[in-house]
């Protein structure tokens, strides 16, 4: 009998791993190198993966650890890589409520790494809190509060959280989203 090689299942997670790697590295080339490193480590240690547990979370953990161990080495001399949060450069929608994709990206890049990570995993890639917590090796409660704080910070950066009710109607919101898709 030719049972499917369980390692083949790694492939179906490559798109999400690439997306996560781009979020971490902010660089498409480095991201794919990181995914490659992740694959080498995952296949090399595949006997440590317990079948029936969450392969996606396991792969994300490997990728994440590879990224941070590399970065720890690189970062020692650079100053405060985590501290570059919430700059003064808030991105405000135009009068007509336009908010460009690039402006969203700029705001997103300003988030702390752990916040960007939480939003990428949960908001963009659709992981559950539990799965994301496993991937990042933190408690579920920590992941939830990171996600909430990340949303708040991003809303602040995008000026979506004024005390007064936002002037955007739902249809305007939708049109912003639709416009940004054409970027």
């Amino acid at each position: 009998m030719t049972a499917a090689d369980p390692r083949d299942a790694v492939l179906e997670h490559i798109p999400a791993l690439r997306a996560f790697a781009r979020s971490l590295t902010k660089d498409a080339v480095r991201a794919d190198d990181l995914v490659q490193e992740c694959m080498v480590k995952a296949i090399g240690n595949f006997e440590k993966f317990r079948e029936g547990t969450n392969l996606r979370a396991w792969l994300f953990t490997i990728l994440r650890n590879a990224f941070y161990s590399e970065r720890r080495k690189a970062v020692r001399e650079s100053e405060d890589p985590e501290g570059e949060i919430v700059g003064a450069l808030a991105v405000k929608p135009d009068h007509d409520g336009r908010l460009q994709m690039s402006e969203f990206n700029i705001a997103f890049q300003k988030l702390k790494a752990e916040h960007r990570e939480a939003l990428t995993l949960i908001g963009a890639l659709g992981l559950s809190y539990e799965e994301a917590a496993e991937a990042c090796e933190v408690a579920i409660g920590t992941m939830k509060s990171r996600t909430n704080r990340a949303r708040k910070e991003l809303a602040q950066l995008m000026q979506l959280d004024d005390d007064k009710p936002t002037e955007l109607t739902d249809s305007q919101t939708l049109s912003i989203v639709n416009q940004s898709g054409h970027m």
Binding site: M1, A3, D5, P6, R7, D8, V10, L11, E12, I14, P15, A16, R18, A19, R22, S23, D32, V35, Q36, M39, V40, I43, G44, F46, E47, E51, M101, F104, N105, F108, L119, T120, G123, A124, L125, R151, L154, A155, M158, L160, D161, D162, P165, T166, L168, T169, D170, T173, I176, V177, S180, G181
Partner: protein
């Protein structure tokens, strides 16, 4: 009318839509050959251990 809808909720939705858009390009690219080839190489270098499935 959605005037009563909490601002937070609408802003969360907007954020999620933008997040999905931001990564959709990468996700839509599927699996580049580079990674398919790499998996094939890695599998070849370490053949699957025939332990877990009992022989039929």
């Amino acid at each position: 009318m959605p005037a009563d809808e909490p601002v937070e909720k609408r802003s969360d939705d907007l954020i999620d839509e933008n997040l999905k858009k931001a990564f959709s390009e990468t996700l839509d690219e599927g699996v580049p050959d580079r990674f398919k080839d790499l998996l094939a190489q890695l599998k070849q270098a370490a053949p699957q251990k025939p332990s877990e499935e009992p022989e039929k």
